[in-house]
Point group: C2
């Protein structure tokens, strides 16, 4: 068995209070997933992530494939054991990072050839290879290999990109069906299996999005993601695409919007019926001194915080807001201290995870049984 | 009242199992004090330091004076409150950093003029000013302003340096006696006061060290430090100087050797009768991937650890050794991840603090009542 998804309550707006039973963790949804690119959520130790209530985090296939290598991770018992993270993990397909980070990439029908951003070495990713790597890493949830359509994109370009994504989705699924049971922890966890999600692309064309979603649903993935959003388009368009696709995806399976977003966005999408989201924003912004608070964004480097003895966020009860002042966090940034990144990240993650906790509570209270 | 020092047990070799009652903490000695240069033990959060059992840490007067500024820290309630560290603090005099970090420094009878390593601004430190800054920071223990004699130094140079150090010690004490009661937390802690330690210099000349120690003892400081060691001299010489000075310092007051050392050194000196030590070595080395273990030093970046699934130190029970593998720590270093510095530092501090814990246990068991 891969995942099991149960709806506990639903709202009129389409929001779902649910639960995804994964091999390593039962995850309460809607859920925000912190990004742990290279086997670490940057600057935060695993016990702190646990204390923050993170139930599932991301690993990036592209990064881990290049360093330390997926075969090495498999030999060491998979990514959970390698990074000592006993809760749930999701890996992306590697596609997005190949497009955004690597050099001299070339896309063909077969896959993508590229050069490593680390050492310039040559690599070739196919849907089958992405699956192999993800099976070696052993996350609870894997993602089909897709091509993320850029924005803006002409219709003909979006169509071509979509055709490739659907072809690769079929190949991904085929390979996964044959080899998905080979994950290193399968036996240890009573024969449980990894799950595979398909990714809906289609640029900003509603009909292409519909078509892609319908085809993927026919293929019967364990869950469905909406990709290619938050790539520069106006937010109304993001919401329109999500709303369109949600009408097609089956209610019985988890829905994941990739790479979003700002606090107000993740709340909005969760209330619309999105179950899972991830984004580097809270962690990356934290390292640059940008804090998300109940009163809006706060650039902690500002001189006006030099002697501000209030907590980063008056309404926050996280371990950083309980102990440290704005003045101290500002000082750490000014002094270039590593602790700045750590404390800022902890607060931002607490803030993001807190939003989802509140939405889950609301959905439970408002909602009828689904 | 400043500090109160009690000896609980002594050993034949001169070792003392003691207890220093400070305004913010009763510190068990011998003790190792992690260095928290700019109001943070680099890469480690305060709750982790508490969990590690750190009872007293250092702040650097030079760094905090330049940024965020001692007056700002005083206005915010002192360094304890600013950095949210409720346990004991010690500040150095600023002298050592002026010599090692600042530019265009010039020493006169009155003090030291220098340019900031941060922005090139001009500053002038006198013994009185060092005291003012340290009173503003509000550590439990302050250090007299001294000149650290370089190594090697001609006898005439060491004599001249010593003369200045003793003159400045007298001025430091005088100023401290008049203003030491002005610390910001004095009233809150029932009228308790900061303590002031004198610093024994004298280069590598036994008779100069003796003379300096005798004069400082006459002045009646709250404790005595031995400075100007670990500046490049052979270890036998370090030990000889410490042994010489220890015979002169009064048994009833704490003895502090500044800026040492390697694990085997701090154990050795603690067993000889040194009560307090500090060093950047465990924290700085950690950030470069050097771990101290029960089996010696280990450069975690080594390729041979790439798939080593053992803990950093088999015999260590710290939070890092309980959870993470050598392979994972190596990966974090390779990937330049911030977590590398954090986890390596936590282990090294646990190792250093563990040595002192063991020495204290031994001294209690072996020792008769002092």
């Amino acid at each position: 068995m891969g995942l099991k998804y149960n709806i506990l309550a639903t709202s009129e707006a389409g929001g779902r209070r649910g639960r995804i039973d994964l091999p390593h963790r039962r995850v309460e949804t809607p859920v925000f997933m912190p990004v742990g690119t290279a086997g670490t959520v940057k600057a935060v130790a695993q016990d702190v992530l646990e204390a923050l209530g993170a139930e599932i985090i991301l690993g990036n296939t592209y990064h881990l494939y290049l360093r330390p290598g997926h075969e090495a991770i498999r030999r060491m018992g998979g990514l959970h054991r390698f990074m000592s993270w006993p809760r749930a993990l999701l890996t992306d397909s590697g596609g997005f990072q190949v497009f955004s980070l690597s050099e001299l990439r070339k896309v063909t029908e077969e896959g993508v050839s590229f050069r490593s951003h680390l050492d310039g070495s040559s690599h070739f990713f196919t849907p089958e290879h992405s699956m192999e790597v993800q099976i070696a890493l052993g996350a609870d949830i894997c993602m089909a290999f897709d091509e993320c359509t850029e924005y803006p994109a002409e219709r003909s370009r979006a169509e071509e990109s979509l055709r490739l994504t659907m072809k690769w989705a079929r190949q991904s699924l085929e390979h996964f069906k044959t080899h998905g049971g080979e994950v290193v922890w399968g036996e240890e966890l009573g024969g449980r299996k990894q799950s595979l999600f398909g990714i809906v692309q289609g640029g900003m064309y509603r009909d292409l999005r519909r078509e892609c979603a319908e085809r993927l649903v026919e293929m019967e993935f364990d869950g469905y993601a909406i990709g290619g959003l938050s790539v520069g388009e106006p937010r109304e368009l993001t919401m329109e695409m999500i709303a369109e696709v949600l009408t097609i995806l089956p209610a019985t399976k988890p829905r994941y919007v990739m790479g979003v977003g700002y606090p107000e966005e993740i709340e909005l999408y969760a209330r619309m019926g999105v179950d899972m989201m991830d984004c580097v924003l809270p962690t990356r912004a934290a390292r640059h001194g940008l804090l998300f608070t109940s009163e809006g964004r706060l650039n902690i480097k500002g001189a006006r915080y030099a002697e501000d003895q209030g907590p980063p966020d008056q309404s926050c009860n996280c371990m950083v807001c309980r102990r440290y002042t704005r003045a101290y966090l500002r000082h750490l940034m000014q002094a270039g201290e590593a602790l700045a990144g750590t404390l800022n990240t902890i607060h931002n993650l607490a803030y993001y995870l807190g939003i989802m906790e509140r939405v889950r509570r609301d959905l439970t209270t408002e909602g009828g049984v689904g």
